[in-house]
């Protein structure tokens, strides 16, 4: 708030002296800063919880305000690993539907998750 106030006050000061074009840029920038903080605050507590129960795999995804729960039958799910040019992506596929998982992980940890999840799925098969 202090940063925004200072920036806008500077813009108003110059506008009062005739250099009014500083003010819109100050407005844009304060808006960008606010947007960044809102985005960060909204997603700071995002998570994915992958639980392996009896005969099923449950993925709980918290994305901003929304918490969704996806259940897959253990017999009908498979883990897909895609090696894209820039990163590795993981997804669970079942009956024509696909759910991306491990979005909060870096490449090394995604591999680790894929390894552990893959081992569990193979044991269950």
């Amino acid at each position: 708030m202090v940063v925004a106030a200072v920036s806008v006050l500077i813009g108003i000061g110059f506008a009062s002296q005739g250099a009014w074009l500083v003010l819109p840029f100050a407005g844009f920038e304060v808006a960008a800063l606010a947007l960044a903080f809102i985005c960060y605050a909204r997603h700071a507590a995002d998570y994915e919880r992958i639980s392996l129960g009896a005969g099923q795999i449950e993925v709980e995804i918290c994305d901003g305000d929304c918490v969704r729960c996806h259940r897959f039958s253990q017999s009908w799910v498979r883990l897909v690993v895609r090696d894209a040019p820039s990163e590795t992506r993981l997804a669970l596929q079942s009956r024509g539907q696909e759910l991306e998982i491990g979005r909060h992980l870096d490449g090394a940890n995604r591999r680790k998750l894929a390894g552990e999840l893959g081992r569990w799925l193979r044991q269950a098969a």
């Binding site: 800063l33 985005c39 507590a45 909060h104 090394a108």
Partner: protein
């Protein structure tokens, strides 16, 4: 694409290896803070060489009186572009590179808060640089209005000026995105227990610098946009004939320009504050006072801008206010210098290359600070305005200040970044060559300025010939010395002795070398106690399922 459930053999061989995109795509698409830090640093070094070549051309022309090498119009373009390239292309991106590399490591964050925006804020810079350098090829050449782009001269320039304005906008957008990223990262992503007053001082100086950037970048954007509308859209912000005021441009520009000076020096203070304690084997003296001094400098930087404008005509009360306000900055700056010296006092000091550059920084930057005090005194400034004394002053602050700190930081953290030690012999040679040739170049400029030689001129009176010849010899020596730096960095990047773990030091950042993808702190992948449940993402978490988010 592979399916683990259907292919039991897949999925094991890469378990312990991160996937690395290769080739140019790795650098274009990277969101890794270390990659982006390296990109910033290499970009700034390339721009440093480009700006350096312009400087050497300027010095070659000034080797003796008369016009020998370039025409006056091109000389003016070179002085303008040298300043802009060095400020916006070399010094500022270099510090952002350090911030990208070090801040997440120092505060225990896995990456910058907005990794994709981080990528974007870097890749805007080469576009801006191409636009800036390409303006030499525009009809009429590049802008020749000086790096300050004063109206009405800048209103009369050719198409190169429009390219420059656009480039400044792009670089400003890049800086703002970088600043927002740094503020968000430092405020929100510190590891548990890392309170603000426990942060390494480099993080503090960058946090304050980021606030300064956020405060003043709209002012620069507004200033150059008003120039653009005056040039092409019939406005008269700075056109006296249309009711405008050319001096208003100077007020707007310097309201940005003076904090910009601190944007270029505060991260340097941070780097030096990391290095001095390490090589003195003592904690930093007066940590809290360093933080408050940095904040004071940043706040004071907003009320001193008109000391650049004493000769434009202002009331005596205004002159007195800006003179005293400027002199006041010496107090927090003095606190910093005192604390660095007190840190070294009775320390078990050694003088490896980073420490040499840090001590060199304190010695030569303090000289630049004192000449700044002289410039702050209105009656003296009126005499030396636009002379080589001012050129000497700001090069003592920006070259021996900012640039030496960049060298110090590079040598200090290069072993962490690469896993290899740099060549100490090359580093020491680079330091001694740099500091000797730097002083040969810029010290005589004080005498030239006091004798009345104006800046930004390609020809001069015979009485200035000797000192100019000395300065030119020094400039070529200084320029060539930087090839030693390039050799030292390349040698270290290619390999060499493994970096030893320093023991008994008080470094607050984590020990190196640093892998490209390291375990995140706090961990982003939690294995729950049931052994059959994973939790990814979320805030720092203790591992107790009942305290998991939501």
């Amino acid at each position: 694409m592979s399916s683990i459930a259907h292919d039991p053999t897949h999925g094991h061989e890469h378990d312990h290896h991160a996937h690395h995109p290769s080739g140019v795509m790795r650098w274009i698409t990277t969101t890794n803070h270390k990659d982006i830090g390296s990109l910033y640093l290499w970009f700034s070094f390339i721009m440093f060489l480009a700006g350096g070549v312009m400087a050497l051309t300027i010095r070659a022309e000034l080797f003796q009186p008369g016009l020998q090498i370039v025409q006056p119009e091109f000389f003016n373009q070179l002085t303008t572009m040298h300043g802009l390239v060095m400020v916006f292309g070399a010094i500022m991106p270099a510090f952002v590179g350090f911030a990208n590399w070090q801040i997440p490591l120092m505060i225990g964050a896995p990456d910058m808060a907005f990794a994709r925006m981080n990528n974007w804020s870097f890749w805007l810079l080469p576009v801006a640089a191409i636009l800036l350098m390409g303006s030499f090829l525009a009809p009429g050449g590049a802008s020749a209005a000086g790096w300050t782009l004063y109206a009405p001269l800048s209103v009369q320039m050719g198409m190169g000026m429009d390219m420059l304005i656009f480039a400044v906008h792009i670089m400003g957008a890049s800086s703002i995105m970088g600043a927002i990223n740094i503020v968000t990262t430092i405020l929100n992503m510190r590891a548990p227990g890392m309170t603000l007053m426990k942060m390494p001082l480099f993080c503090w100086t960058w946090l304050i610098t980021a606030y300064l950037l956020i405060a003043v970048m709209p002012v620069l954007a507004g200033a150059v946009t008003m120039l653009l509308t005056d040039r092409h859209f019939g406005t008269s912000f700075f056109n006296a004939a249309g009711g405008g005021d050319p001096v208003l441009y100077q007020h707007v520009f310097w309201f940005f320009g003076h904090p910009e000076v601190y944007i270029m020096i505060l991260p340097a203070f941070g780097i030096v504050s990391q290095i001095i304690p390490t090589f003195s084997r003592k904690p930093l003296f007066g940590y809290a006072s360093m933080v408050y001094a940095t904040s004071s400098i940043a706040i004071l930087s907003f009320i001193v801008w008109a000391h650049h404008m004493f000769t434009t005509g202002m009331p005596a009360a205004g002159q007195l206010f800006f003179m005293y306000a400027t002199m006041l900055i010496a107090v927090p700056t003095g606190v910093k210098v005192f604390n660095w010296v007190a840190t070294m006092w009775k320390g078990s000091m050694t003088f490896e290359t980073p420490m040499l550059f840090a001590v060199g920084f304190i010695f030569v930057f303090t000289m630049g600070g004192f000449t700044g005090l002289i410039c702050a005194i209105t009656p003296i400034d009126i005499q030396i305005q636009d002379t080589y004394y001012v050129v000497a002053h700001f090069h003592y602050v920006l070259v021996a200040g900012s640039l030496f700190a960049i060298f110090a930081g590079t040598y200090y953290w290069l072993p962490k970044w690469t896993g290899h030690m740099y060549d100490e012999g090359l580093g020491r040679l680079h330091f001694w060559a740099s500091i000797i040739f730097f002083n040969i170049t810029f010290f005589p400029m004080h005498f030239l300025g006091l004798a009345g030689m104006p800046r930004r001129i390609p020809d001069y009176a015979l009485q200035f010939a000797d000192f100019n010849a000395i300065a030119t010899v020094g400039a070529f020596g200084f320029g060539l010395s930087q090839l030693i730096f390039l050799a030292a960095v390349l040698k270290c990047v290619k390999g060499g002795q493994r970096r030893p773990q320093r023991s008994g030091t008080v470094r607050t950042d984590s020990s190196g070398p640093c892998p490209r993808q390291r375990p995140t702190i706090p961990s982003k992948l939690h294995r729950l106690s049931s052994k059959r449940c994973w939790l990814t993402g979320g805030p720092p978490w203790t591992g107790d399922q009942t305290s998991a988010p939501r």
